[in-house]
Amino acid sequence: MQSFLRDAAQFLPLLLQGLKFTVLVTLGSLALSTVLGLVWALMRVSGVAPLVLVAKLVVNTLRGIPILVQLFYIYFVFPEFGLALSALQAAILGLGIAYSAYQAENFRAGIEAIDHGQVEAAESIGMGWFLMMRRVILPQAIKVVLPPYGNIMIMMLKDSSQASTITVAELTLQGSLLASSTFKNMTVYTLVALLYLSMSLPLIAFVGWLERRFGKGARR
């Protein structure tokens, strides 16, 4: 135990450097996937045939290709088209785009769960489509969407480790570099696992808080 603590104190600074990139990748791709996912979902429920078609095509393509392959594509293939990104940029872009498909499906399910009477009530007081979405549908859909959104957040935090494959020195890559140079596999990977948990458990609590916060007054 003592040697574990001694090693831990020695490894922790390096792992915390990796942690910084894990947080950056997660937050960046979370923001991007949320915005993009909302765009796909709104296109999908717009009722405008070409928009619906494009949204379906994009979402199914993204869902049909492994995230790892999408990351490789952006990092290694895009430069051939003149778009060279840093590893961090490519990771945020790749994970953000890949996850936007899952976000979109979640948002669409939330929007479609709202009673059609709400649409009629909004239309009957003269609301246009965007106003109705903003004032009536989305505020109610949030409640439906939050629990799965929380799951997606946690999955993204863990999937940010895939950025290690395109050389982003995040927690998992730092860990495996340390482990292979010191052979202290147990110490290193225990620390790595604990560090992931120290981020995901507060995240789970935060999602629970969000559900309580947005659930207020929205009971039916």
């Binding site: 009477g117 003269g126 009536v136």
Partner: protein
């Protein structure tokens, strides 16, 4: 004010409206009665563009109702609608429900809209429920909020789609009472209803609809007390004496 001329509408192969012609004059209260599935609600929904119609024409103050045209917004704000299942916004308080349209659609100053919203809620007997959410209200209270929400748009007419059908019997009276006082103040109303007592007492005219056509129409007392058409006679007998 509302003119329908030869309006037809089909859902798939089923023709719901088979040429409806009729009108509602300013200040008039017209009740639409008839068996379920006869197309009563569909007429209301076509008038404020919640449904499209296939043939004929509907005009409101001379403007053609076209669901796909921008002008529909103006028509909808002039023709408020009250729904069978209230359709209040569950994430907003009673007062917020009432002022939603005035503030966000008509862009009225918030203070003005809120003041009028409170007056309207007080008028439908809900002065103590401004901050209540729909889930905290009874059916009758929710429908009265919905009527206040309709009034807040300062409409030229209100369309009521079976406003008491989803209510427990003991709550029907409070909603009909509010509607009666509106009628007495001269509000133009088109009401789909099964409340024959209300139709007899409040309506100027009654239209009896069956199978997508207007079978009989006339002054409320005449149609309801001495119907001429056998289908109207049969319907009224079944409604007034169910057993």
């Amino acid at each position: 004010m509302i003119e329908l001329s030869g309006v037809t509408k089909s859902f798939g192969s089923h023709q719901v409206l088979k040429g409806i012609t009729g009108s509602v004059q300013r200040g008039e209260v017209v009740c639409l009665i008839g068996p379920s599935g006869s197309g009563k609600s569909t007429i209301l929904r076509c008038i404020n563009g919640l449904e499209s119609y296939d043939g004929g024409s509907i005009t409101v103050d001379g403007a053609k109702v076209d669901r796909a045209d921008r002008s529909i917004v103006g028509i909808r704000t002039a023709m408020a609608m009250v729904f069978q299942r209230f359709n209040l916004f569950p994430h907003r308080t009673a007062l917020e429900n009432v002022v939603e349209g005035p503030i966000h659609v008509k862009k009225e100053p918030a203070a003005e809209a809120l003041a009028r919203g409170r007056d309207l809620l007080a008028r439908v007997g809900l002065a103590d429920k401004f901050e209540a959410y729909p889930a905290q209200l009874s059916g009758g209270q929710m429908q009265r909020v919905a009527i206040a929400r309709a009034l807040a748009m300062q409409p030229k007419a209100i369309l009521f789609d079976e406003p008491t059908s989803a209510l427990d019997p003991e709550l029907v009276g409070e909603v009909l009472g509010v509607m009666k006082s509106l009628a007495e103040e001269g509000m133009t109303m088109l009401v789909v209803t099964h409340e024959m007592g209300f139709a007899r007492e409040v309506a100027d005219r009654v239209l009896f609809l069956d199978g997508g056509v207007i079978v009989e129409e006339g002054a409320a007392r005449e149609v309801l007390s001495a119907p001429r058409n056998p289908r109207t006679q049969d319907f009224l007998r079944r409604v007034l004496k169910p057993i």
